[in-house]
Symmetry: C2
Subunit: 452 residues, 2 copies
């Protein structure tokens, strides 16, 4: 018996029939002897419809507190209906709002941060043999105002709940059957990743892979929550995202050791995560390719190469509330001791960031600021990349063969990112995917967009 | 300056335009220097749509706790949008759920009773110069579950909030411009009642008048909350429902005496209730005629006329959870000492009540039980009816002239009710209305159904 958190996005509960299917899955999991806590998003387009109503009433900018009050109606509907559907199948179920489930946040309406998670009522409900259903995306502030967690909020709710309940696994149900070696819409032969470390997933999410929200992955990493990303339309296993669990967590709640691998009697219904670290980690293992089309690039040209110059540029951008994606500064090779500082950032923030940097021009004395919208970013993610120069060599070679010019390069221990012209990006993804022999024999199945 | 609670039903907030109109009215009231707390129902058909979803998922009977969770999403949407619309007009506004507004109830999902009302946050919001918006219809149980107050719940919320805030008046906005001397759909010349006592309103509501829910009127009477029932489509005064306020309440919050009557400078925007009891109460004053088509009638025939017989019959009906409308037992005139006991009750409960009474047949030894569905009840309501036999005389005379047979009669201090064949009821209402010269010169304006 395991304790599972199952998260279903908006597309998984889009209508009454979809809710019934989710109920069947939850009941099946419950009837196999597991404790199941479910996290749901709002039904299908509910959030967009509510946002549209808000926009009609407040065309400029709806007040944040009231917008959160409005949007949280969405999960209230889906979770109550799901509880009813589960009870129809003969299993007791109770739904809980963010407040009732103990999702305590700060007061930042629309993008609240979790401060504490105290799911006492959820735990009591599971202990009583019922299914607990928790509203995703929502919390309550210290002064009892309703808050929402912002984009990716329901994933974050699920992971946070799994951490607080010490769940064996947090299953993220979506309309794709796992993480892929590349976006199947661009690389039809992309193959499903069966296992990946949480750090690699973090890099994938941070650099454009859209199935899991970065914030939820960060949360899962910090609290060592194993994730299982899988399709709500099939029983097939999806992608296991494995974490280095603290030793104590390897003990099951009854004191016995966690079994190695999965239960052979239920190969299609594995609920407990496989053990990580089974394969030797010395050879580089490519997990996949992430790409991102949402960025712009700013270059401050001819910056005096002296201590503090980069800090000033970055500080100026940060002071206007813009989050920076990559920062690249090469060594100064010019006789005049000048360098260029480039950074990538969300395209929508380009104008504000450029203005902030321009204000430094007099003090810092750089030559010019250049802004490029519509850049593309391709990131190769895998274990042991930095210690294996062959990987970068093969990657850059593949790009050269595909006649893709590399504008910037940035690397981490487990990631190599390049900036290209956005028009070259899809060709670049396909070329690198093929170069690393990631192509599967069959084409991937894609169902559409994902929920919040 | 006064403190007002304004309640808007579902038809008053049916769409974004309607919400904007409500916002304008609230802001106008606020800008005249009043403190305004607003209670809203769900938008238009939202509740029916949510009920329909629940019915699809749980065709038998949706679980009560989850149904309440579901339905309360409705007010969450309307109140957040209304708060936004008010802020758009430059007035600060905050919305509150039943829980946030301190609406504490018992655990009876779907028909919860208020146990305590502690609107501390609402009072703080008003003190800060903001408009407070409270979700009608909903509360929270001691164990922090979401509850709903059942039919008429939003009216009850408004009256309870007004009582707890010691508001000067609770304004009930609806799609009719007040209480009428009879249902304008049956008597087109029915005239609007300008002032009526709470006791008469109670009789009207209990005997079929549909604008105000009985429970809200009972609450208003117990806590001496003056009500003003008026149209959300016009600025005209509606019907003032006046209560005998405790002496202390005649003092305003600043210690000055409540002014007699209304402010002469704003004849169309009176907010403080006129003083009750200005007119001599010795002559009978007919308030209006209520009618009810939802009842059935049970008669236990040939009941032995001995102590305890009526108690047994009533007890049997009560034991199956059926609420009784009228009970009539005439004096025994038969030689055998037999009498008939008749009672009226909601038509839907007829079968259960008949079965319960039949079980008594052996012990009590009555001859038969007769059930009549589709009866009609007409009630004449007004002050001083019992002490003026002329009223009953004129009423029964008018019915006789209209060839309406009277099947049962029941009276209270301020009401005379007769049971007729349901097919005669509308004729009966018109005949009595005319006999008491209640007809107005113009036809009444009727807009449609009312919200919850």
């Amino acid at each position: 018996m395991a304790l599972l958190v199952q998260k279903f996005g908006g597309s998984s509960v889009a209508d009454v029939d979809a809710i019934r299917r989710v109920a069947q899955r939850v009941v099946a999991t419950h009837n196999r002897g597991n404790d199941v806590a479910v996290v749901v998003s709002a039904m299908g387009d509910t959030t967009d419809e509510l946002l549209d109503l808000a926009q009609q009433v407040s065309p400029q900018e709806p007040p944040e507190r009231e917008l959160d009050m409005l949007l949280t109606a969405g999960e209230r509907i889906s979770m109550a209906l799901l509880a009813m559907a589960i009870q129809e199948l003969g299993v007791p179920a109770r739904s809980f709002t963010g407040q009732q489930a103990g999702m305590h946040t700060d007061r930042s309406f629309g993008r609240a941060r979790l401060l504490d998670v105290t799911p006492g009522r959820v735990a009591d409900t599971l202990r009583a043999g019922s299914v607990a259903i928790v509203a995703g995306f929502q919390g309550v502030s210290e002064d009892e105002d309703v808050t929402t967690l912002g984009r990716g909020g329901s994933d974050t709710t699920a992971v946070a709940l799994a951490a607080a309940l010490d769940a064996d696994v947090c299953e993220i149900y979506t309309d794709v059957d796992g993480l892929y070696t590349a976006d199947p819409r661009i690389v039809p032969t992309a193959s499903r990743i069966t296992r990946i470390t949480i750090e690699e997933t973090l890099e994938m999410a941070a650099h454009g892979a859209k199935i899991l929200h970065l914030r939820a992955v960060e949360y899962a990493r910090r609290f060592a929550v194993p994730l299982h990303v899988r399709s709500s339309f099939s029983d097939k296993e999806g992608t296991w995202i494995l974490v280095a669990r603290p030793l104590t967590a390897a003990l099951r709640r009854d004191g016995s050791l966690r079994p190695e691998g999965t239960d052979p009697h239920q190969p299609e219904q594995t609920t407990v995560p496989p053990t990580s670290g089974e394969e030797p980690m010395e050879d580089p293992i490519i997990s996949g390719i992430a790409h991102d089309k949402s960025l712009g690039k700013i270059t401050a040209v001819g910056v005096p190469d002296r201590p503090g110059a980069a800090a000033l540029v970055v500080g100026a951008v940060a002071s206007v509330g813009v989050s920076i994606d990559m920062i690249v500064q090469n060594v100064s090779t010019s006789a005049a001791g000048m360098t260029d500082i480039s950074l990538t950032l969300p395209e929508a923030d380009g104008t504000a960031a450029v203005a902030a940097i321009r204000e430094l021009q007099h003090d810092l004395g750089f030559a010019d600021v250049i802004y490029t919208s519509h850049i593309g970013k391709l990131s190769l993610v895998g274990a042991g990349l930095r210690s294996n120069p062959q990987v970068a060599h093969r990657m850059f070679g593949a790009l050269a063969e595909a006649a893709v010019n590399i504008e910037m390069i940035s690397t981490s221990e487990i990631r190599i990112s390049v900036i290209t012209d956005q028009r070259d990006l899809e060709d670049a993804v396909r070329a690198v995917h093929t170069a690393f022999q990631l192509d599967a024999e069959d084409e991937a199945v894609v169902y559409g967009g994902t929920g919040r």
